[in-house]
Every structure is written in C-alpha cells, then in structure tokens.
Amino acid sequence: MNKLLFSFLLLLALPLIVLIIIVPMSSDNQYIFGFICIAIVFILGVSKSKKITLIMFVMSTLMSLRYIYWRATETLHFNSTLEAVLGIALFMTELYALVILLFGYIQTTWSLKRTIEPLPDDVSLWPTVDIYIPTYNESMDVVRDTVLAAQCIDYPKDKMKIYVLDDGKRNEFAVFCADAGVGYITRNDNKHAKAGNLNSAMKVTQGELITVFDCDHVATRAFLQATVGSFLIDERLALIQTPHYFYSPDPFERNLSEASKVPNEGALFYGPVQQGNDNWNATFFCGSCAVIRRTALEEVGGFAVETVTEDAHTALKMQRLGWGSAFLALPLAAGLATERLGLHVVQRTRWARGMTQIFRVDNPLFGRGLTWQQRLCYLNAMLHFQYGLPRVIFCTAPLIYLLFNLNIIASSAGLIFAYVLPHLVMSIYINSRATGRYRYSFWGEVYETVMCFHLVIPTMLAMISPKHGKFNVTDKGALLDDNYFDFHIVRPHIIAVSLLLLGVTWGVVRLFMPEHYGANPQVIMLNIGWASFSMIILLASIAVARETRQVRKTIRVDATIPAVLHFASGAAMRTETLDLSMGGVRLKTPDERFLDDPIEEVELALKSGVVSFPVEVIDVDKSVTRLMFQELPIEKRRELVRVVLARADAWIRDKPHAPDRPLRSFLGILRCIFELFYFSWQDRREKKQWRKNQPDVKQGQEKEQII
C-alpha cells in the first residue's frame, strides 16, 4: 500500500484505536465486547491469508493494550506496602509479557524467507574457505565424524581447508588428523576458551571465509555451496548463519513422549525468530554452523572474548561496523542435543548470562553503527532471556491470595476475567496461527518454566556484575546407562507445586466454608484456576527430569537407501534400509536366505558412490535385519559418514509439521503429567525385576549399546 495513503489512514484510525484502548466498560459490556472480538477472530480464522493474520495481530495488540491500560489505571491500588510491592511486581511481569508478545508479532510479520544464492559456474571464482573445528575435552568418537563429514563437503579440494583446533593438545587427535588428511592446530595457552582458540587459528590460516563447526556438528555435503554464494553477491555480508539442527533428541524429546511429536524447542528460534531478525539485518551468530568473512572478523579484532556468548557479541561488533548478516533456514549440519536436562539447564543459563552481559558491556541500544531496527531486535533477544523472574512470578502469584490472602489486583474477579479472557484467548489463538508449525501452544511455557528458577540469580548477577562468572563448556557425547529421576534439578519446581497444591486445597476449603473464612468465591475460583494452570505447567516441567536410559551409543537416522546384502555363499540380495547409524543398520529382510546363510557385508548405494561394509549380524527375522558395522578404517568410515550423516537431504523435512491445535496441545501436556506418574511407578517395578535378572540381561545390553 502506498506509504502516504497508509499514514493517512493510520492518522484517521488513531482516535478509534485510542478509544478501544482507553474506554472503560462495565463488567457486562466488557464481556460482550470481549466475546464479539473473539468471535470475529475465530470467523476470520477461516481464511489462511497473510493479510488476515496481520489484521488479527492488530486486533490482538489492541485488546492486550486495552488490558494493560486498564490494569495500569484501574487496578493498582493497594492497602499495604507489601501488597504494593507484590502488586507492582506482578504488573511489571505482565508488562514484560506484553512487550515480548508485541515483539513477537512484529518479528513474525516481517520475516525474511531467504533462499540459496547459487555460486557462479566458473569454479575459479569461488572463494577459499577454512573450516574450524574447535575442541577441548570432547572424545575422539564425537570429533572424528565431524572431521570426516567436513571432508565430504562438495567444494574444490584446493579451496577448502579443514582444521581441528585442539585446546586439549591430545596426541590421539594429532595422529587422527594426519591420517585423515586435515590440519591440526594447537596454541600455547587456553585463554578465553573457544573464542581464544578460534582467534589463534585465524593467525595461521588464510581462507577468505571461515566456517565454524562445533565438534559434534556434522555437516552435509551441500553446506558450502548453499551458503558461500551469498558472499559473492553481497560484498558487505559478514555472516551467514544456518540452523542448529539436532539429530539426537533433546531432554524434552527424550523424556516426554509427547514432545517428540511436536516441533522441538529450537524450531521457533531457528525459524521465525532468526528469519525475523534477518529481515532487519540483525541475525546473530550462534557459534556454529555458520560462515563468516575473514576481513569482517579482522576488523572487529577477531571473535569476541568479553562475554560468555562470544558468538552473539561478535556479530554485534561486526554489525556496528556496517557489516551485514544473514540467516538461511535450511538444516545443513546436525549436532547432538544436550544429553540430559541438567546439561540443558547449564547451557541455557550460559546463554542467558551471556546475552545479559552483552547488554551491560556493549549495549546495542546505545553506541554507534546500528539501525534502530537492529537495536530493537537485540533488545528483543535480550529481553527474552530475562524471562526467569517473570515466569517465576507468574507461576507463584496465585499463592499470594490463596495462602496469604493478600489482594494485589484491585478489581472484582469478574472484571478481571472479562479483560483477561480476550487478551489471553486471542494471543494464544493468533500465535498458534502465526507460528504454530514451529511451536505448539503451551510448550513455550513448559520450556521456560523448566529453566525459570535456575535463571533468576545468574541473570540478575550478570546484570549487576557482568564481568563475573566463568564459561562452562557443555558436555557432549556421554552415555547415560540407567533410568533415573533428576530430583536436584527440579527441586524448586517440586517446592512450587507443593505450595500451589497447598494453596489450592486451602482455597477449596475456604470455598466450601465461606461462613468460617469469609472469602470472595469468585476471587478464590479465579486464583484456583490460575494456580491449577501453573501446577500443570510445573508438573510437565518436572516430568522432563525423568531421565530415560540411553541405550544406544550412536544415534539412528531414518533413511530409505537401496542396499545389497552379501551372504557367505556369494549370493547378493537387494533390499533397502529402514534406518542407519554410525554403528549399524536396520534393513528390510529380503527373503529367507538368512536362515542358513550368514550375512557378511552390506552394500549401500548412493548415486555419488556405492560402498560395501563388513558387518556382524545382531538380529534377523522375517521382516527386519539388524546389522552392526565392524571397526572401520578411516577411508571406509568416511564413506559411512557420507551415507549416514553427510547426505545433502539428510535433515531437510519434506513437509512441515502439522499446524498447531491449542486444545490438542494442552491435552498433550496433560498426557505428559499422566505419564510422569505412570512410568515412574512402572520404572520402580521394573527395577526390582531387573535386579533379580541381572546376569543374563547385561550381555544383550552391551551389544544393544553399540548400535
């Protein structure tokens, strides 16, 4: 629409907008108004058009602003200082939530769906690339496949150099790098951890572009050809970031059966959020799976060392100098998710601290070089990481009335409900519509609640004293050999649930005995409702702490690849794989030959090459054949990596997730809670039986572990 026309219409609409936000209504009128708006939104929801989504954003914004305005003007009257403090804290929390909501709408409305820029036909024009794989104490098993996958990247051999940057200075790695034919770099000290490691490597390498892969991030063969083209098209591009895709389940997916059916935790960030950032040239570097221009890095003095999220800070510095950044929403590499909830919490705490540190140390709102849109994007990111305290407050606020009988909202319950209802319903519905394929309703609450108690102090500390605190590297690759429940990590959650339960019980008591305890039933019911919702989310968060035993050392990847089984008799049978891992393969059993003819090798056929691997049979039946790969020499292992992990389409979904259905999603969360209790009970029974059968079971398990 014509800008002038648009501004004119906006001006015209302004009084109407202001009216909608400000006009106070009686409880009944507000209900009616609310219901009408909700109805309009539902009716509009039939159309899938983007324009309608935009209209809905506007409607939801107005409704939420109306709510906040009412809260600010009508409900902040308190009877005591304590109530005032708590009441204002709650109000600030709601204000925070509103800001995040609005930022979210803006990001989703203007998001950049970037595509691949092809490279020129003349290969001599392609830039030189250095690939850095920094490592410190991770095991060789993990790093080895990353190196081999990098070698499978389709790029001219003379223009791509791979280096392992070993801060652990381990001989085993030096030997491996020589065998594989990649570079090996060490330095004299270990200052500034990963950032320092990368900086020291920059001094001894010359590639025009630098690619960083975390030691567990295996690249697909298309990685460079999908990303490098952009650097030739745009001379001021400093960074292109790709998603951190996990091929192993994160703690949520592992410990909650429902979570493996919904889009995972990273999908929202590595989708709409970064694409929103990209639109304003505010994509930030995430530490891995990205390509950076060397000259840009040199201009900012290398990778930033002042904060624990050196990646985001580096991007910020480059943007200040006018460099651009880009985000390509294609999973071109895959890594291992944090193994356990405990590790997940450590990792996210570091991110929150780091982003807060940047806020203090190099505030993007001030200082030169950034556009106001970039500043807002960074502000959004930083605000997001402050969710700890607000989330805690949201969870526990009902206790204030239920346990302590303090009134922190000066209004009747009916009126509160009348205002809150459209605000909540519309924001849930519209978010579901806009980003439902990347995050299902209420799961965001679960992800945040899991972390919230742990974030409060570290973020506050980082805000007050940013230079404080060390960098803890997230552990990758360790095997969990038994089921256990991580009580420690969810202790605050358990305490909160207990208190809420107490509060609800007490509230119910008061409800049924008003003569004794003289309480407003509507207020009690509202608080009980709120407290119940908090309990559900808290219980779902607690359910994540039920760590299941990790049976397999290697991760299975689903793939259907044509295969030939070679039998001892010399016969060869055609079939296809069901799934593959670096330890073994599962295939459809072609016929009954297996009954008396052992399988010796399996041949896997990619168009880029057919390779045969010696195998040992784990288990065969009429439908499924399970084979284990034997120890492979490095050349063969590289071929296996090529088939299992480095296929260009390995991580690309052919269709997006089913759209979100808020009610269905909520039921899913309830299911997690049910499973928490049911499976914990089952686990306990199984453990007793397992202890009885211990000697026989172990041997079978060992083989299981390898594939």
Binding site: V564, H566, S569, G570, A571, A572, M573, R574, V610
Partner: protein, 267 residues
C-alpha cells in the same frame, strides 16, 4: 522387428546369461521375444530348460533350409528360443562360409520371424571376432557389448570404442551399448574398474550386474534368475537393464499381457 545383438570381444563374460535373462525380462513385461543362439557352443538352450541331450538346432541345416523357424522352441507364452544345435565341423564351416559370403543369409533364414512387427529378436553371438558377428552388422538394430568388471575386459575397451573390433559403427539404428557383469563392490579392483566403466561409458552403459551366486545357481537350475531369486541383486540389475532396453527399442512395456515365465517342462 528390433534385433538386438549381444556380443563381446572376450569369452566367458556372461554374454549368454545376459542374453537369456534379458529375453526373460522383456517377455515378462509383455513383449514377444525370440532369442537365437549363433554360438556353436550351443549353451543358450540350457538357460531355458532344454535338456543337454536335446541337440536340435538350426545351424546344421541352415545352408539348405531357407526358413529356420521350424527349429524354434516355445519356452514360454511370449518367449521363443532358436537353439544353435549340435553341429559337425563341416556344418560349422559351411555355416560360417554362408555368413561370410551370402549377403542376406541371416535375413532370409529368420525372415518369418523378422516380419512380425512386435517381436524382439535377441541374438547371442560367439565371443571375439567371427563370421556371425560380421554378418550381423547389416541386420542388428542394437548392439550390447558385455564386459566383466576386470582389467582383461577393460583392456579391450579401446578396441571396441575405436571400432576395431567391428569394422564400422552401427549407422542408423539404436546404437551400441554396454553391460558390465560380475561387479563386486567388496573388491577394490572390481570396484575401481566398475567405477571407471561408469565414468567412461556414461549413458552408453545400460547397467552393471552384481557378482551374485544366484546367477550360476539359476543357470544350473536352467531357469531365469528372477524366477529362482526375485530379490537377488543380479535379478534386479538385469531387470533395470531390460527396462532401459525396452525404452531404447521403443517397446510399450507392461501392456498386461504376461508377467511370469514358466518352465517349458511343467514338471
């Protein structure tokens, strides 16, 4: 109508097996197929269940008989076989002489069959250079060279490519193609040679056939590989090759006429 000539500069590469199974596959997908044995070894018939003792064939009387089709055996609903038959040395020499000197010798002998428009004729040739191959130059629509995935075969590739094996390339028709047989991906040399053939021959390579014990087993049973081990790698490879051949020859595949080869001896 189309005549496919299966040949090789070398012996023992699996030419007869390829010819036989190609015939089975094309018949299975609905075409009418006649497979003719020009090799005095007389081995082709064994792939179709003909007993060793049965030595009927057309070559012995090919000089005197103008129509060879009376020796054709029906081995399946769509599938026909013209065995070479047992020949004396003199008969063989006479046959060669005719091939060399009689201009339309093959066309005349097979005229009854060649007239049938949708009948595919597959000719199994003797290895190396020989009179039959020379005579085929004028008749064949498509030539398939069978090679093994080893250096003995590979070393003869330049000969074929430079048309020194056969004097002139197939001018109009469908062209010359290759099949690489007994490729074993477990063995370095076999893998390297196969890979080399693939890169060198590109679209001219109809396919490579796995080294697969099911092949000799099927031959020993006198059956098609697809009948004995339908899921074997070699069966699949041959099937793929036959599909390509069908496309090249312009056959309409899969008109539903016939899907499974039965043995001619129903016992």
């Amino acid at each position: 109508m189309p005549l496919v000539c299966v040949c090789s500069p070398k012996g023992g590469v699996g030419k007869t097996t390829v010819a036989a199974n190609l015939a089975y596959a094309l018949a299975r997908s609905g075409s009418k197929v006649l497979v003719v044995d020009f090799d005095s070894q007389n081995a082709l018939r064994l792939h179709f269940g003909v007993p060793i003792a049965d030595n009927r064939g057309f070559v012995a009387q090919s000089g005197t008989l103008s129509d060879w089709s009376q020796f054709i055996l029906k081995v399946g609903p769509n599938l026909f076989l013209l065995p070479c038959g047992e020949v004396t040395e003199n008969e063989r020499i006479l046959f060669e002489d005719n091939l060399m000197n009689e201009p339309m010798f093959i066309q005349r002998g097979l005229s009854a069959v060649l007239q049938i428009p949708d009948m595919v004729v597959i000719a199994d040739m003797p290895p190396g250079r020989n009179a039959a191959l020379k005579a085929m130059e004028a008749v064949a629509d498509m030539r398939i060279f069978v090679l093994l995935a080893d250096t003995a075969s590979l070393s003869l590739l330049p000969l074929i490519e430079q048309h020194k094996f056969m004097n002139k390339p197939l001018n109009n028709k469908m062209g010359e193609y290759y099949v690489v047989n007994q490729s074993d991906m477990r063995r370095t040399l076999s893998r390297d040679v196969t890979h080399f053939f693939e890169q060198r021959l590109q679209n001219k390579l109809l396919g490579t056939i796995h080294r697969d014990e099911c092949v000799p087993e099927a031959n020993a049973s006198q059956r098609a590989i697809m009948d004995i081990s339908p899921v074997s790698a070699a069966a699949f490879d041959l099937d793929q090759i036959s599909k390509k051949v069908a496309v090249i020859l312009g056959l309409s595949v899969g008109d539903g006429a016939y899907h499974h080869t039965a043995s001619i001896y129903s016992s």
